[in-house]
Assembly symmetry: C2
Homo-oligomer: 279 residues x 2
């Protein structure tokens, strides 16, 4: 990439991991980290996630490429504070919602901005969760790209291709609908499952009886509440819609159970099995 | 173990895997497989899951230890057909429900029988899914052991210890209640999630957008409908109870969303996070 500096705001799982990978990919580019959490800064230095850190966010806006790897609320409030930046600067966010973020970009910097959502992550957070390879082989969604500058779009495509990602394009409204069903609602269900089981069962029984199924289903219930509360809030309508759909599905199972419609139950499970042909 | 022969009925994931491990652990014991599915028999021979196979189920009942690794309905119907077996014979089942199975054991052979539920498995089934090590480090629940013979119980404890399992004891009624919350209900939720998402999203979007969260949450939706329909049927009341509890949890989230009670949402997610301290 024909740029000299990359700034990363937020040195947690997403920002720290991209720092690690970019340092490897582009040893000649200066990678500068910023985080408002001082412990995170210390950890990022210890873990060597970036080339250098700064306490002055203005230094990030002076980079050729600035990556916003912070919760979706933070993205909106931070991006609203930018007034002028060099014409060729590229800014990307990596938030899990896209519509409100895209709508909040000040006009003066709209062409500098590219809205992106890398479909990757783990239930862990913070700099210690950062891993090289988090992005490799995964999908990244680029939204409303007609509003981004050609130069900026080119930089971002090069960036994600270099990380080994599969790039797809979507308008931000569609993104948020799809993301509600395929990502946000499954998180809500995992939180609900964890709470249901912990309300009912004592820790000893959970440890003794939890097989691979429960462990997998409850893994993302360990995800950061700060991050996920704001995702759910920003995508409220779509998340509600997805939960209503899920409850209808569960209700139809419950009805079959009450009616002892075992052929129906088997058919319903067989339908679900066909996911095997997709994933 | 001071026995000469082990018979395994059902050469799928559970039976095939225990065959593989027992062959390694006890090269001097003759391990005989039986399956009513001829393809499974062929695969079991090709994969070397047992020492030999038989088409005559009576040969299994002549073994010192007979392992029933078949769906829970099959266990009940098969066990009801046994009239007399040698006094020292041990029979175990590995079904995911325990109450109906324990209640169905003919009195004449009750002391021969030990009810067990190894808390392990994958979403795959059939002999090709069998793996050595499936049981290692996992928990096995032994139920209503006061009704089993001392010799039989000793054999089963040795067996599971040799496989590297952690043995716990429970009455079959309690087992079915716990299993509903920690295993059966999570399977229902996974099936419901897979069906919701496939009803809403086209396969292309699912492939493109599915991250680790959705993949993990939907993995067990690929589980065998034959096996799971009969588990759900046998444990109907407890599964219904667990689903009602889960729906209450989801409803309370939905209410917070509708009321825009974001502090409540965050608290609810933080509660779920505490699972981290357990698992």
């Amino acid at each position: 990439m024909d740029i000299k500096s990359i700034g990363i705001i937020g040195l947690g799982l997403m920002g720290g991991s991209i720092g690690l990978s970019l340092k490897k990919l582009y040893p000649h580019i200066n990678i500068i980290g910023y985080d408002h959490n001082l412990t995170h800064i210390k950890e990022a230095i210890d873990l060597n996630l970036v080339d250098m850190v700064t306490k002055n966010i203005e230094e990030i806006w002076q980079c050729d490429l600035a990556i916003l790897a912070i919760p979706v609320d933070g993205i909106i409030s931070l991006i609203g504070q930018i007034s002028t930046i060099p014409m060729m600067t590229t800014i990307i966010d990596m938030g899990s919602t896209k519509k409100l973020i895209c709508d909040s970009i000040p006009k003066a910097i709209r062409s500098n901005f590219v809205a992106t959502h890398p479909m990757t992550g783990t239930e862990k957070s913070g700099p210690t969760a950062a891993i090289d390879g988090l992005y490799t082989g995964k999908t990244v969604v680029l939204c409303d790209t007609e509003k981004s500058g050609a130069h900026q779009l080119e930089i971002v495509k090069k960036l994600y291709k270099a990380l080994g990602m599969n790039i797809i394009y979507m308008d931000s409204t569609s993104h948020d609908k799809h993301a509600a069903f395929i990502s946000h609602m499954p998180h809500v269900i995992s939180y609900a499952l964890a709470n249901t089981v912990m309300r009912q069962e004592d820790p000893k029984s959970i440890i003794a009886l939890a097989g691979g199924g429960f462990r997998d289903m409850s893994r993302i219930a360990k995800s950061s509440p700060d991050m996920w509360e704001s995702i759910i809030r920003q995508n409220k309508i779509n998340v509600l819609d997805s939960i209503i759909n899920f409850k209808q599905e569960l209700d139809s199972f419950e009805k079959m159970l009450l009616n002892e419609d075992w052929e129906g139950v088997k058919k319903w499970m067989t339908q679900a099995n066909s996911l095997h042909d997709i994933l």
